[in-house]
């Protein structure tokens, strides 16, 4: 008589040696290395993107006649770049460890640390980016062409100060 799948399962796992948890020390080392490499690559790409933006934006803003905002934006980008480069050093201190537990703890510490530091930096940079964006809007509004274009297109529109 054929055995039921329940019986195969039950009998199969009686004294089953393969249910011993696999040794994962070396594999964790390999995995941690792969993870760190991936994060390093991500950081490097971010840094390159920051450098490009720090160069391109002032030039672009120069042609838009908002040089000061461009310079402010560029400085902010360069500061973020400097900070990110410092953060990148943390990967070197990541403890691959002799056991999986060491790796887990080390990785967890790194993530928590990066998140808390990133949060603090964003508290300063986001308001500054917002101010720069507002300043760009304000200067675009004050330059005149926008209001004159609106006058041409909608001659009946009433302006209170410079606000339609």
């Amino acid at each position: 008589m054929e055995k039921s799948i329940e019986a195969i399962w039950k009998e199969g796992f009686l004294n089953e040696k393969s249910l011993v948890a696999p040794k994962i020390n070396d594999l964790y080392n390999q995995k941690s290395k792969a993870l760190v490499e991936k994060m390093k690559r991500m950081y490097r790409n971010n840094l390159i993107a920051l450098v490009i933006m720090a160069i391109v934006f002032p030039i672009w803003y120069y042609f838009m006649d908002i040089v000061w905002q461009g310079i402010a934006f560029s400085i902010l980008m360069l500061l973020t770049l400097w900070y990110s480069k410092r953060q990148k050093r943390g990967f070197k201190t990541l403890d691959h460890g002799a056991t999986s537990l060491d790796y887990l703890k080390s990785f967890d510490r790194l993530l928590k640390d990066a998140l808390s530091k990133g949060e603090k930096v964003l508290r300063f940079t986001y308001p500054l980016y917002f101010l720069i964006a507002m300043s760009i809007l304000w200067s675009a509004w004050n330059k005149g062409p926008l209001t004159s274009k609106m006058y041409q297109k909608y001659p009946d529109i009433i302006f209170v100060g410079r606000v339609p």
Binding site: E2, K3, I5, E6, I8, W9, E11, G12, F13, E16, K17, S18, L19, V20, A21, P22, I24, L27, Y28, K31, S100, L101, L104, K105, F107, D108
Partner: protein, 171 residues
């Protein structure tokens, strides 16, 4: 201080993950075709259990939590591999060479059963493993986030399909 943290983490590892190692192994085996993948999945499950320990709320049992994380991790990794275009043998295309080389267990019938289980859909695999682990329909439903009736119907269907695969009626 660090020694204290080490002790706490080690205690957690020993007390909360290792007792569930057999079921984690059984689940990971159902979603992998090679020893390398299996070990990779196993450690990823352990990592996620450890990382999510702070999110555990007393609304469910710790064992339910472990099952849930194990299945979620396996399904996520499987999905990732599919989207990354890595070699993955679906239930429809499972080459014989992988099947014959994949002798993870000493018991030949169990190996055959695992080969059959791997030919099921991802969710069906989860259902049947929990069923074979003698979890009630309610527990399975709780782990998978569905209702018990649905599980009951599904289990009958899966068992029929498994029998057909094992008897060679489905290639």
């Amino acid at each position: 201080m660090r020694a204290k943290t080490n002790k706490v983490s080690n205690d957690f590892y020993q007390a909360s993950i290792f007792p569930f190692a057999p079921i984690i192994i059984k689940i990971c085996r159902a979603y992998t075709n090679s020893q390398e993948d299996f070990e990779d999945y196993y450690q990823e499950v352990c990592l996620q259990i450890w990382r999510s320990k702070d999110n555990f709320c007393e609304q469910c049992k710790w064992s339910t939590w472990v099952y849930r994380i194990s299945l979620n991790v396996c399904l996520t990794l499987l999905k990732k591999r599919k989207t990354n275009g890595q070699t993955y043998f679906t239930s429809d295309v499972l080459p014989d060479v992988i099947i014959t080389e994949n002798r993870a267990f000493e018991d030949e019938s169990l190996n055959q059963l695992y080969v059959a289980i791997r030919r099921l859909s991802e969710v069906d695999r989860a259902v049947i493993i929990l069923y074979l682990e003698e979890k009630s329909y309610h527990e399975i439903a709780d782990i998978l986030g569905t209702n018990a009736n649905n599980i009951g119907v599904r289990v009958i269907r899966i068992k029929e399909r498994l029998k057909k695969i094992l008897n060679g009626k489905i290639n």
